[in-house]
């Protein structure tokens, strides 16, 4: 029921959004905060789209929710989404505000909302999604998320009983959300030529979630993603309902089994992450009633936005900017793995400190010791430059990871660190950055490109 208080909050939020946009300021969070201040039960009163989809998880939730929005829009569904906004309480309130008229009537039949996993306890009691995708649950920032079991517990307590779950079958922590929920699973079978990674520092699923005995891994893709079973009690990773069986990145296709029946789908992007994200989206669409042919048709026109990877050719060399996500050991380790596997000789600049901490405090560096810097101990990586005020901590970590001292350089000035890059020794220079060091990374890249263009471009 809508009250006068609700309408005042709605109008104030809409006015704030308009004012912020006129001032060319970000209007994706504050309007919702204003609404919640004025009307604390705003989220329960605002009219919502008839079908609500939530997407959560440690990594991949932005990509999956954006892909879902694009695929749904491709088939003519008017989708409300927070793709340009915040995924925590204020952001969700803001996007729902955008979805209703001044009279409070919702103009969208469907919403796809990316939801921060930790904030879900504040959002889910009111938003009550019909479907919820969980891409995966890994360790993330200690400061916010503590550990993956903590986040799993929050989600278990917060996800409404009516919500149908779409869960990653290859992640037993994400799959642990199932409980009594109606559930569809997705996963990726071991792919032809795929090698396991069993030497990650972090593996959060070592013991059986049923009986606590040590699990046997049938296929360990990375960290705790893969297929395992328990010799003691017989527990095993579930067979996914929607399962990628094969991928051909060169052809841009993958084979996905829907209920055991294989279909060919376009594959937007060739990494294992792209395969998981696409399969997760396909599973959700199946849950919404789409046929595999409809999924394939729309996928042929929609791609994964590569906002976190940017490649520039300079002569025969490449400069790659790649988001590595500071404080997120699994995301960083995935990037390090990609870098070591990339062809040719590589130089790496790491600008990954927590600028928020650097401004007022001293960053907790313990996460560096959960991150697989050992992956950078590879003959193909000819140089690693650590930037930022934490550069000496990175140097120590890299030395302890076994990287040869002569390959290392440090510079506390992010942009000036680019001057230390020996680009001539490399075919590709990677600039790895955090969400909050993007500007510094861009400056470093400009400085590097100026050097390269002034030097040899052969």
């Amino acid at each position: 029921m809508k009250t006068i208080r609700f309408y005042l909050a709605l109008w104030a939020a809409k006015a704030a959004g308009l004012a912020l946009r006129l001032l060319r300021r970000n209007a994706s969070y504050t309007p919702g905060v204003i609404a919640l201040k004025l009307c604390p039960d705003y989220l329960s009163r605002i009219q919502k789209p008839q079908t609500m989809v939530g997407v959560t998880g440690t990594n991949g939730k932005t990509t999956v929710s954006n892909l879902l929005s694009d695929l749904l829009a491709d088939r003519g569904v008017k989708v409300l989404s927070n793709r340009f906004g915040s995924n925590i309480l204020g952001g969700i309130a803001t996007v729902l505000t955008q979805g209703v008229s001044l009279g409070g009537k919702c103009g969208y039949p469907m919403a796809v909302l990316e939801m921060d996993e930790r904030s879900s306890r504040l959002v889910l009691p009111y938003v009550q999604p019909d479907y919820m995708v969980c891409t995966n649950l890994f360790r993330d920032s200690f400061k916010r998320n503590a550990h993956s079991e903590y986040i799993q517990t929050i989600l278990k307590k917060s996800i409404p009983a009516k919500t149908k779950l779409v869960l990653n079958a290859d992640d037993l922590i994400a799959y642990g959300l199932k409980g009594e929920h109606e559930c569809l699973t997705f996963g990726v079978a071991p792919l032809a030529g795929e090698t396991e990674i069993r030497d990650n520092i972090i593996r959060d699923v070592v013991t059986c979630p049923v009986c606590d005995h040590i699990l046997t891994w049938d296929f360990c893709r990375y960290n705790h993603v893969g297929r395992a079973h328990c010799e003691h009690c017989g527990m095993a990773s579930p067979t996914p309902d929607v399962e990628a069986l094969a991928a051909d990145p060169a052809a841009g296709t993958m084979t996905v089994a829907f209920g055991g029946q294989p279909h060919t789908l376009p594959l937007p992007g060739g990494s294992i992450t792209d395969i998981y994200n696409t399969t997760a989206a396909a599973a959700l669409l199946t849950a919404l009633g789409w046929t595999p042919a409809e999924v394939a048709d729309s996928l042929s026109r929609c791609g994964i936005v590569k906002s976190r990877y940017n490649e520039t050719a300079v002569g025969r060399r490449k400069v790659v900017m790649y988001l590595a996500k500071g404080q997120n050991p699994v995301a960083c380790s995935r990037v390090f793995d990609t870098v070591r596997r990339a062809p040719g000789r590589k130089a790496v600049l790491i600008i990954n400190e927590d600028h928020g901490d650097a401004a007022v405090s001293s960053e907790n560096i313990a996460w560096l010791y959960e991150t697989d810097f050992e992956f950078l101990r590879d003959d193909s990586i000819v140089q690693i430059v650590a930037g930022s005020v934490r550069c000496q901590d990175y140097k120590v970590r890299l030395l302890l990871a076994g990287v040869a001292p002569e390959k290392l350089a440090t510079c506390p000035d992010d942009a000036a660190a680019a001057d230390l890059l020996d680009y001539e020794a490399a075919d590709t220079v990677y600039i790895l950055y955090d969400l909050y060091t993007y500007k510094q990374a861009v400056q470093a890249k400009k400085r590097l490109l100026a050097r390269m263009e002034g030097g040899d471009r052969a």
Partner: protein, 233 residues
């Protein structure tokens, strides 16, 4: 030389497996015994030169306490004999009397006179600096609990900046002979080379550390930061 790592499959949070890997680099000749939760601890039959346990999830604490309870008296005996031990983060709560949880109480092993109270929505993050046997030790804190002393027991660090066992407590952690419990993350041994020397000395194995000059440089830079009044703890 034997180093026993207790329940590494559970007790490995917050980067503290970095302590173990660093110790392995410091002591390449040592035998590292990784005891899993379903195994009988090695210390029950033979005293190690160092017993180590890292931080864990709150549910793992219950499992770990249950696994150690049959060996409580042996653990007390080894503490009394001065066997070096290091319990990091909420691992030290296992040795305490009680962990108060949102759902009730978990009885600890009762080897240290303190209780801990979980606040699962209010995570504490901060820095702590203090002195230990003339050494300035620094570290990071990230925890759901604060402890409360319930009896006399030496602290680990005399706090010079940041929170102690709880805000306002002048001492951080615990020390009983060579058994140390601390909430400091870092990993503490990598971040504090002088403290690592002290620990290796107690194990009878002090020697130059791997990349010691670089470790010391990182320590000196951090010490400067931690002494900067503008740095928020």
């Amino acid at each position: 030389m034997t180093v026993e790592i207790l329940f590494g499959e559970w007790c490995n949070l917050f980067g503290d497996s970095g302590n173990v890997r660093f110790l392995q680099q410091c002591l390449p000749e040592a035998e590292f015994v990784h005891t899993s939760l379903t195994q009988r601890p090695r210390f029950a039959d033979a005293a190690p030169d160092l017993l180590y346990m890292g931080p864990m999830s709150e549910s793992a604490q219950i499992k770990v306490i249950a696994a150690l309870r049959p060996h409580r008296d042996r653990l007390a005996e080894l503490i009394d004999r001065g066997v070096p031990m290091l319990f990091i983060g909420n691992a030290c709560e296992v040795l305490g009397q009680v962990i108060e949880t949102p759902d009730g109480r978990v009885e600890g092993l009762g080897l240290l006179p303190f209780t801990a109270k979980q606040e699962m929505i209010k995570r504490y993050n901060g820095l702590t600096m203090g002195t230990f046997e003339g050494i300035t030790v620094m570290g990071f804190r990230s925890q759901f609990t604060f402890g409360k002393r319930t009896g006399p027991c030496d602290g680990f660090l005399k706090v010079t900046r940041g929170a102690g066992l709880a805000p306002g407590d002048p001492w951080e952690g615990f020390r009983v002979k060579e058994c140390i419990g601390t909430y400091l993350l870092g990993p503490i041994l990598v971040v504090n080379p002088a403290f690592t020397h002290w620990l290796l000395g107690r194990m009878g194995a002090d020697r130059p550390l791997p990349f010691e000059a670089e470790l010391q440089k990182a320590y000196d830079l951090r010490l400067r930061e931690f002494n900067d009044p503008k740095v928020k703890f």
